[in-house]
Structures are given as structure tokens and as C-alpha cells.
Subunit: 243 residues, 2 copies
Amino acid sequence: MTNPAIILVEPQMGENIGAAARAMFNFGLSDLRLVKPRDGWPSARATAMASGALEKMPPVRVFDTLAEAIADLQFVLATTARPREMVRQVYTAAGAAEAFRKRDAERQKTGYVFGGERAGLNNDDIALCHGALTIPTGSEFSSINLGQSVLLVSYEWLKSGDDTLPRVLSTNGSPPVPHDKLEEFFARLEDELDKHHFFNTAEQKPPMVRNLRSLFVRGDLTEQEVRTLHGVISALTGKKLQQ
Amino acid sequence: MTNPAIILVEPQMGENIGAAARAMFNFGLSDLRLVKPRDGWPSARATAMASGALEKMPPVRVFDTLAEAIADLQFVLATTARPREMVRQVYTAAGAAEAFRKRDAERQKTGYVFGGERAGLNNDDIALCHGALTIPTGSEFSSINLGQSVLLVSYEWLKSGDDTLPRVLSTNGSPPVPHDKLEEFFARLEDELDKHHFFNTAEQKPPMVRNLRSLFVRGDLTEQEVRTLHGVISALTGKKLQQ
């Protein structure tokens, strides 16, 4: 079973269980547990909504109480839309993922607990959990549903173990151009611009050259793109690049 | 209009446009633009799915081409499920939110561009965007739909400007207990345990006292909770707290 588990307490609609399954499995989670699903289990509507996720996941387990559903877990968080009258650690989805990763590294078993569509978790269920998890939304409008909540916590879980850089240059195999090739291109471009009387005066030339160079450097060009730009000059001037 | 805009290119199902509207509005975004929606606009199915979001948002604007839809924008990212044969900066949803926040601080207008449900964005549309945005998913299964993609980027946008701590203690108004009150509780507890012969030997007492103290300190108790614990001792011993 993957860690953490997703536990849905008294979910009402099979569609929402299916959406939750699909959402969690998208981000690598597959231990789904249900406490008293209203319409029983299995559910054809859940299977349809899960787009194949339920067939690929280990069997969903069904329990009569939350206490039984989390019996083997060592740290569980209750997902709640608003603060309750209870003293609790309240985590963001990212904070929860970080806490769960630390427990995971210590081989502890963890879980996210979600309430039913209408009323969420009751206070007795929340009291069994080690803390609460609340997803911040814009204040004027907030209607995150069960599937979306499961999606966001699962997304944060995957992200907390993912080392994808926030921004990378994807070059499709062509390496970024080394400076000498760029310099060669600049020299050719400026030579042709000179020949075509692009620079009105000798004083204008240095700043215009700097602007042109800066524009191309900023683009973080690949070798292939510089070859393409040479092709543009060849086409516009009718003169091939001298190799 | 709020920044950034969400631009859906040739979306097919009204339901998905509605889900996107609801998702973005949950996280404070309200500038929705459509390029050639298959079934026209407005859409009763979109309105139903948006759960009131479309009524509260500024009117959705419809365009014939992506170029027209982003005409006033200065920085746009194309959401794609997989890398394309193009040289691009590829952002995560969090990296994109950070980049957009910086542009927003400079009063630049920005947007997230999403393709239709079946095929996503075509390469001509992607070429108009300043970079790509790819949401990392678990490798074995990936079926994020349009509404979910809009949800995740909008969530990251709100989060990037949100200073909620990853974990806070919610105490329902009762302040964390100061140490002297805790010390008073420890003294009473240990005195009663002594009287009830809890400590078998004098050597056992110090480590057991340390363990008990550590257990209660770790709980980060509030003043109210310490009063409750005093009540527990009073009930178990039949002796009220001496004020």
C-alpha cells in the first residue's frame, strides 16, 4: 500500500468517490479507504468516474467506523473547510505533505481524512486525528468539492517529493549555443547591417548593436536556432554563410 | 479584471468551462476568456456546473483566435501535458505562479492558456506563448482534466500570494499555557501520584516524572486544557484544586 492513505468518511455519491480515486491515483496514491459509504461498495458510478484508476489500484477497503479505518495508521490529518472549536495543529496542504514526508521517511503510516459532501467531518471524528488540514481559498467564493480536495492534497504530496525545477529550458535536444557561435552570428549580422546602411551615424551604432545583442542573448538560443537565424540572413541578403 | 487571465482555447463541453470557472473563482481569479467554444456561449451547462461562480464573475469574453484573446497580455504560458518539439521555458504550476506574481508587481497583464479537452493546444498556439506549464503527475497514470488543471494553477496562484504558515496551532481563543501554570499542574500530579504509590521506588521516580512532563509539554497545551486536566485529577482523587 502506498503512503499516505486517503480515508473518506460517509461519502454520499459514488461519482465523488470515483473522482477522488482518479485524483489521488494521478499523483501516485493508491490506498483508498471508505467509512460507511451511503450507497454501498462497489459502485458502478465510482468506477465510471475513476477513468480506470480503481481497476489499477489495490482494492478499496470499507470500514464501519473511522477508528477502524485508521487502526494501523500513526498520524492522520482531518481535512476541514473551516476552523472548529478544538485545539489543533492546522496545516496547509503543503505543510501536511511535508509533515507526512517526514513520517514516511521514518516508515510511519499516515492518512488524510475527508468528511462527506454535505457536512464534512463531525467533531468526534476530528478528535481522533492528530491535526487539521485547511486549504486556503479566495474569501468571497469557496466551493471546493470532495474530488478537488483530494486532488489538491495528493498534488501537494507528489510535489513534496518531486525535484522538478520551477522553470527549466526545454531545448528538444539542441544544446544552448556557446558564446563563440553567437559572436559569429552577431559579427555577420552587424556586417550585413553596415553594408545595408542600417546605422545612420557612427555614434548610433554602438547602442543599437548592444540592443540587438541583448535581445538575442536574452532569448537563450540553441545552436539550431542560431543556424536558423543565419538562414534568415542568407535569405534576406541573398548571400550564404561563409563556412 | 483580476490578473492573471484564464484562456480556454476551443473548449468542447460546457460542463468543463463551468468547472474551470468555479475552480478559478475559488482561488480569486475571474478573467475568463474563451477562443471558439465548440457549443457557443453562453452555455446553460457551464452555468449549472459553475455553482454560481459565473454570475459573480465579470462577463466571459469570447474570441475567434488565441492571438485576439491575448492581445492585451504581456506574458502568457501554455499549459501542456507533455513536452513539445519547441524550445521553451517549461514551468511548474508553482514556478508559473511565482513568475506571474513578479509580472503582476510590475503591473503586467498575464494569462494561463489551456487547450481543448481532446487534443490540447496545437503548436501554432503554443508558439504564441512565452513558455509552457506542465503539471507533474505520477508516471503510471495521468488523466488530469481541464477543470482540474485550472484548479491546480489557480490554487498555486493564490498560494504564491498567501502567507498562511504551513502549520499553526489553532487554540480557539485560549492562549498556550505559560510555564508556571504547567509547573503547578506537574507538582499537583506528582504529589497525588506519590500519595497513591504510583512510583514503586525512589530511583524510578525521576525518569517517570520526566516522561510524564515531556508527554504533556509536547501537547502544546492551552490554559483551558490545563484547567481540564486539573479537573481530571480532582475527579479521580475526590480532592478539589487548592486555589
